[in-house]
Amino acid sequence: MMRQKTLFIVPYLLWIVLFVLAPLILIFYQSLYNINGQFTLDNYTTYLTSGVYLKMTFNSVWYAFLITLVTLVISYPTAYVLNRLHNKQFWLLLVILPTWINLLLKTYAFIGLFSRTGSINQFLRFVGLGSHQLLFTDASFMFVAAYIEIPFMVLPIFNSLAEINPSLINASKDLGASQWQTFTKVIWPLSMPGVKAGIQAVFIPSLSLFMITRLIGGNRVITLGTAIEEHFLTTQNWGMGSTIGVVLIIAMFIVMFATGEAKQKGGHTR
């Protein structure tokens, strides 16, 4: 019995070691070498002292924050309404469906929509509003990023809302709470795990977005993700790229920790 169990764990261990631990160690190892292959802490000093990288970091965090916020504001009501529909699984499927389409494909589709000769501008000209620069703006970047992330936010929130025992909502009303009080005091706190999971699923990938920043944002928004890509592919400074990678990994841990299951101590007394 014992032997069998240890055997079953082998594939998982292999996976963890090869694809999680090894890359982490490699990135950390790389970050300690400069472009000439010398062992040094220079990369970290550069990162911390040059305003460029810190500004980039701030940008990344700021945009990731905005994307998460927009996604949350759209996704929570969506998940809430989905939960009250009759064929909720079907409607949920429609929300999830776009995630089955390749990310790059979707991004290119938006280029088609947003470009000067694209459908939206055609429509704007048709109704006499003239054409506008839509592509390569912050707004379009935010829009597409949010569009791509929404399913990942809706799903966990939907699940946590679906798990709420309906008799809790009756109990709240029975005890005199209005619709709104029931929401703020019962539904919202009980859906927090879903919200946190959604934030994790959106904020962390948003920190290192690079394709959308380039294709939709037109490289006007330079995030850490873009910087890593530059260092590895263009300047070939793997050390610096790895250093930024390490910074991102640390940032992810911070987010995980902040939104983690810190012993559910709910219930706010007024």
């Binding site: 008799s167 809790l168 009756n170 109990a171 005890l175 706190p189 009980l190 559910q264 709910g266 007394t269």
Partner: protein
Amino acid sequence: MTENIMEFRHVGKQYDDNVVLRDINFKIEAGKFYTLLGPSGSGKTTILRLIAGFDQPTSGEIYFAGQEINDVPANRRQVNTVFQDYALFPHMNVAENVAFGLQIKGVKKSEIKRRVDEALQLVQLAGYGAREITAMSGGQRQRVAIARAIVNEPQVLLLDEALSALDHKLRVQMQTELRQLQRKLGITFIFVTHDQEEALAMSDQIMIINDGKIQQSGTPVDIYDEPLNHFVADFIGESNIVPGIMKKDYLVAINGQDFKCVDAGMRPNERVEVVIRPEDLDITTVEQGQLVGTVDTQLFRGVDYQITVHDVRDHVWKINSIHKTTVGARVGISFDPEDIHVMRYNETEADFDARLDSYEEGE
């Protein structure tokens, strides 16, 4: 003490084409313990939901303290509910759960604390306030749910199958406690259950619900001793129900044999059903028995033996006796005229009450 706090007038409820309640009429007096008793799917929980305000009736009116409340939402009714699954808020501890209703009403913090402590004391959970709900046992959660409801000092407390999730011993204990609590608080309790023992043990008044209708209402003793129809007789307690013919007042024929009884007011030679409770039947010698039969089975149940006997006409009688007998033995069965209860087919509750009054007063 006979002030009506609540009344249902011709209340009906249907979901789409599914009729759940039809023409429900009753009055609830303040300060009494009522039980809605019925099998699952009978509509008893729907009545409770209508009272609480989670559902609105399709027809008829519900009155509360003289006011029609059909459209008053649940959060503005002076009624609180103890839910079947307790419905305690998992993100709050015990005290926060109990305080919920008071906080909503904006009661002062110091008073909330005092009243929460008091309520927890009443349900014997003093000192458990800081516990998480997950750290409480089923029986304790039950008490928290009760405390959370009574702390709001409702005029009517609704309990939906409130004890059914507890084990037998705890359930019996909670029955006593609930009864005491109701007397102490003096508020009306409306208890929904499918457990007839529970209903008999706790209630001032029982309403038997089946098929969306009130079958019979009355005190536990009335209902047990004088069930209106086959359903009630069968549902409440154990019973032997046999067809019979009402020869004349105070004389009924069972199996072609005439027996004296205490029922009257029916047509001569009317077909009726006769109920005799198993504990009213005694095993005796063949010579002394009013019926004679052979013992089929005998089960020891602690308090008594459950015996089945088939008579010469192959009718099976259930008998509860504290004396044991032998399987296969020929025995006599004896009973008194008072043990016989005669039921007419399709008699309404009103007619039944009127008939009872007519001859009971005459005596």
